[in-house]
């Protein structure tokens, strides 16, 4: 199991970053996709925005974007109002159980 998955199991959302290129390396990797240098790992901001969503049965699934780069799919908590594209949201929980699980809540 890699660093990304291990941290997800602890409800921590981390990503690799290249200190030389000063950029996040997404999807996470041990090497920078630009310069192939070693990366450091840091937590990603849990504040993001809604890119797109749909619904299956009573579950909303969506794409959320973090730090203007990382886009991931996860479950969006159902609220009383229809979600709006571009709306601010928060990553409230993440986990790894063989798949990466992400749960978001609108702000």
């Amino acid at each position: 199991m890699n660093k990304f998955e291990n941290e997800l199991k602890n409800d921590k959302f981390v990503c690799s970053e290249c200190p030389k290129c000063n950029k996040l390396v997404w999807p996470p990797s041990n090497f920078c996709s630009g310069c192939f240098g070693n990366v450091i790992w840091r937590q990603v901001s849990r504040n993001g925005k809604l890119v797109e969503f749909s619904k299956k049965d009573n579950t909303i699934f969506c794409i959320a974007e973090f730090e203007n780069l990382i886009r991931i799919m996860g479950e969006l908590e159902i609220g009383s109002k229809e979600p709006q594209i571009g709306q601010d949201l928060e990553l409230v929980k993440c986990n790894y159980d063989g798949k990466e699980n992400f749960f978001f809540q609108l702000k």
Partner: protein, 369 residues
């Protein structure tokens, strides 16, 4: 660079029988030899197999059972566009002079567990293709006003076209209303808006200009090739209403063939879901962005078979490794005026668009009679 043409093809009916991947591949190779009385095993320099199956050494196993001792043999895998990519490899071997005649065979079993891209972490817990297609659908609806009826028309057209395809898995026409009323897989995708995995096998024979006349009087020339990979992760599609990889691949293919979208008489496009055909018609520049649905509607109302005459993936079934090759077989038949009830009259220029994993990768080929 030497010119390369399709000189023969073989197909077997798509189904869900219990059969090995090796036997599936051999079935369309047999069909290809049955269709080409001038072809003998020693003509073939290279054998390429296209599949996502985990069986090993398939190109060599198929060669042995077909009595071929090729110089070059290997598998090509790229999920859903494995088929078109394997034909690009075959083209390269011939155009470079490494081979004169290449046999390409693609196949997939309906129950192959390797059909979902588990390693795309950007999809989180939503790995199944129906989730990315829901995102594409919702975005296209929001931006361009595409409706559920527009999507159902894609499926109705392609199921109707498949009625004239003796190799199709499906053999049933559906009304637009039946498709709209079919089961919701998600809020945005109905079950009849989806293509389905099935067994399938398709084979093509490619040869250089010097040799092709031995196999056919009507060679189908590959005159344009474009292939582009944007990423391996779905969410790197910045614009969920367009297939960027298809746009790039199409531009390269049009430039190489010196053809324009208006020159294309018939096309097979990768309708993994109804929304895909709408987006592809736009991204191949057959019409402007946002007009894909109207383009499909016109074809449906006028019985025009220009796009997906064999029924596409929705009507024919989607055996991943065979799909791109089956698309090429259809365009070859069209340009040889051998497509019978599916024939687009006077077709001289054809196009195949085969894409993979939420359009993260696309291949576009242009053919001329």
């Amino acid at each position: 660079m030497r010119r390369v043409a399709i000189g023969g093809f073989g197909l077997t009916k798509f189904n869900k029988d219990n059969i090995s991947i090796e036997s599936l591949m051999l079935s369309s190779v047999k069909s290809l030899f049955d269709n080409n009385s001038n072809l003998v095993q020693k003509d073939i320099d290279a054998v390429l197999t296209s599949t996502n199956d985990n069986s090993k050494y398939l190109a060599n196993i198929v060669s042995e059972f077909a009595g071929i001792s090729p110089k070059i043999s290997h598998t090509v895998e790229s999920l859903c566009n494995s088929g078109a990519n394997s034909v690009v490899s075959a083209f390269s071997y011939i155009s470079s002079g490494l081979a004169d005649v290449v046999l390409v065979v693609g196949a997939e079993k309906f129950d192959n567990p390797g059909l979902v891209l588990e390693c795309d972490i950007s999809r989180g817990q939503y790995k199944h293709p129906v989730y990315w297609s829901s995102m594409f659908t919702r975005s296209h609806m929001r931006k361009y006003g595409t409706t559920r009826e527009d999507l159902a028309i894609v499926s109705a057209k392609n199921h109707r076209n498949a009625l004239a395809n003796p190799y199709a898995y499906f053999n049933k026409a559906y009304s637009v209303d039946e498709i709209m009323q079919s089961k919701n897989i998600t809020e945005d995708v109905r079950v009849l808006d989806c293509s389905f995995p099935c067994n399938g096998s398709a084979a093509v024979l490619l040869a250089s200009e010097e040799i092709i006349k031995k196999f056919t009087d009507c060679p189908v020339w590959i005159t344009g090739i474009g292939q582009k990979t944007i990423s391996a992760g779905f969410t790197k599609n910045d614009d969920l209403t367009s297939m960027k990889s298809t746009q790039y691949a199409a531009n390269d293919a049009y430039a190489m063939s010196k053809k324009e979208p208006k020159d294309v008489d018939v096309a097979e496009v990768h309708d993994a879901f109804s929304i895909c055909e709408v987006m592809e018609i736009e991204d191949l520049h057959f019409t402007q962005k946002g007009h894909g649905s109207q383009f499909v509607k016109n074809m449906y109302e006028t019985q025009d078979k220009k796009i997906n005459p064999r029924g596409g993936l929705i009507g024919t079934g989607h055996p991943l490794g065979a799909t791109g090759i089956a698309q090429i077989v259809e365009i070859s038949q069209q340009l040889q005026s051998k497509a019978e009830k599916r024939q687009v009259e006077g077709a001289k220029v054809g196009l195949v668009q085969n894409m993979s994993a939420a359009a993260t990768s696309s291949t576009v080929l242009i053919f001329e009679s």
